[in-house]
Symmetry: C2
Subunit: 224 residues, 2 copies
């Protein structure tokens, strides 16, 4: 069965891989491992982790399959490193935003969600692989990612609780609201396509507004 | 590189496939095509569309690869049929819920979101494949799915607008709020795991409450 229409549509040209490399993997140790991570990211994003081959990952980085193993012992090691960098980069952005934010609980939640949503809109390929291929990681590596993920939860839970304590938020189920708010932003990785009128900054502002509403006291609805 | 730990973790026993078949594909024409759809669903969900083979799909249905082609001309035809059935089943549920709902705009939105969220929580494997593998469909088939997807948007847009017109909702960007509300529920397919205290009905109620809040007039926040 032919899949030509699929691969021509979902494949990206090599140049975008190189751009991705410098943008998404600034802390990869060497240039070779950076090229490999970028190539693996593209393969995992377009084919899925299970369909991606070490040969294709190597080719995208200009290396033989044997050369790949000099840098990464397995395909799951590449997935782990991509996923770790993705989560770390997003967590750094959120923590910086919170460090820069004023005390007002509404403004802090707004900054958190704007940053978290914008990251997912701007790093869509990285976000997709980090979110959708997690279950392919061996338990030990998965546990390290789960620890990073718990920090997003803990931060937002703290900000929501701060607003509840200050009497400016009204939240029946704080953990449920945290999960929903994070999930809303993560799903940008699935559907979001930048377009005039909905660039990443705009979708980030829209989402921050909606999440603040989700946790704010509402006036009882009455029919007109 | 070994992927044993992955496949043992993500594979489901054959019995769940058969349950899935009768539950997810009630309108498949024959028993053989129903078994094939259930097997393909499992393969696509656990391996990804590109990694799934016709041989494995056939094996899961107790058929040779050649026998698969008697029923479906290609792997994408299986994906299209799964995706069409998924979208149709969810749309039927939402339309039934709206038909049964009273006139109150808040209650109608609540019923819409409860139904849409619960469907995604209960049909997680079907929802994942329907949502995440869409781009593997040829344009002509993709366009048919897009038409179904637009109906969810149109229905919720109408319900939101009804509330705005009645003065009970306050929505700055109706299309943005529609996209966000649907996206929130769709992402249940990624993360949701049923557990005591968060069975599908409960997450559906939680989400309906959060979405009604998203579109309700808020009291201006003030620090305590």
């Amino acid at each position: 069965m032919s899949e030509r229409s699929v691969s021509t549509r979902t494949r990206r040209p090599a140049v975008s891989t190189r751009t991705a490399a410098s943008r998404f993997f600034p802390d990869a140790e060497t240039d070779a491992s950076q090229r490999l991570l970028a190539s693996a990211l593209e393969q995992f994003a377009t084919k899925g982790f299970h369909a991606a081959t070490t040969r294709a990952v190597g080719e995208g980085a200009g290396m033989s399959p044997a050369a790949v193993y000099v840098h990464y012992a397995s395909k799951t090691d590449l997935l782990f490193e991509i996923t770790r960098i993705g989560h770390r980069s997003c967590l750094d952005a959120v923590e910086q935003a919170l460090a820069d934010a004023p005390d007002d609980p509404g403004e802090r939640v707004r900054r958190f969600i704007e940053t978290f949503a914008q990251w997912h809109a701007e790093h869509q390929m990285l976000a997709r692989v980090s979110q959708y291929e997690l279950n392919a990681l061996p338990t030990r590596q998965l546990n390290r990612i789960v620890k990073l993920r718990q920090q997003f939860d803990a931060h937002l839970q703290q900000e929501f609780q701060r607003g509840v304590d200050a009497g400016v938020f009204e939240i029946e189920d704080v953990q449920g609201a945290v999960t929903a708010a994070l999930s809303l932003c993560i799903d940008l990785a699935r559907w979001y396509v930048p377009r005039p009128g909905l660039v990443p900054e705009q979708v980030a502002r829209l989402y921050a507004g909606l999440v603040v509403r989700m946790v704010s006291p509402i006036r009882p609805a009455r029919a007109a």
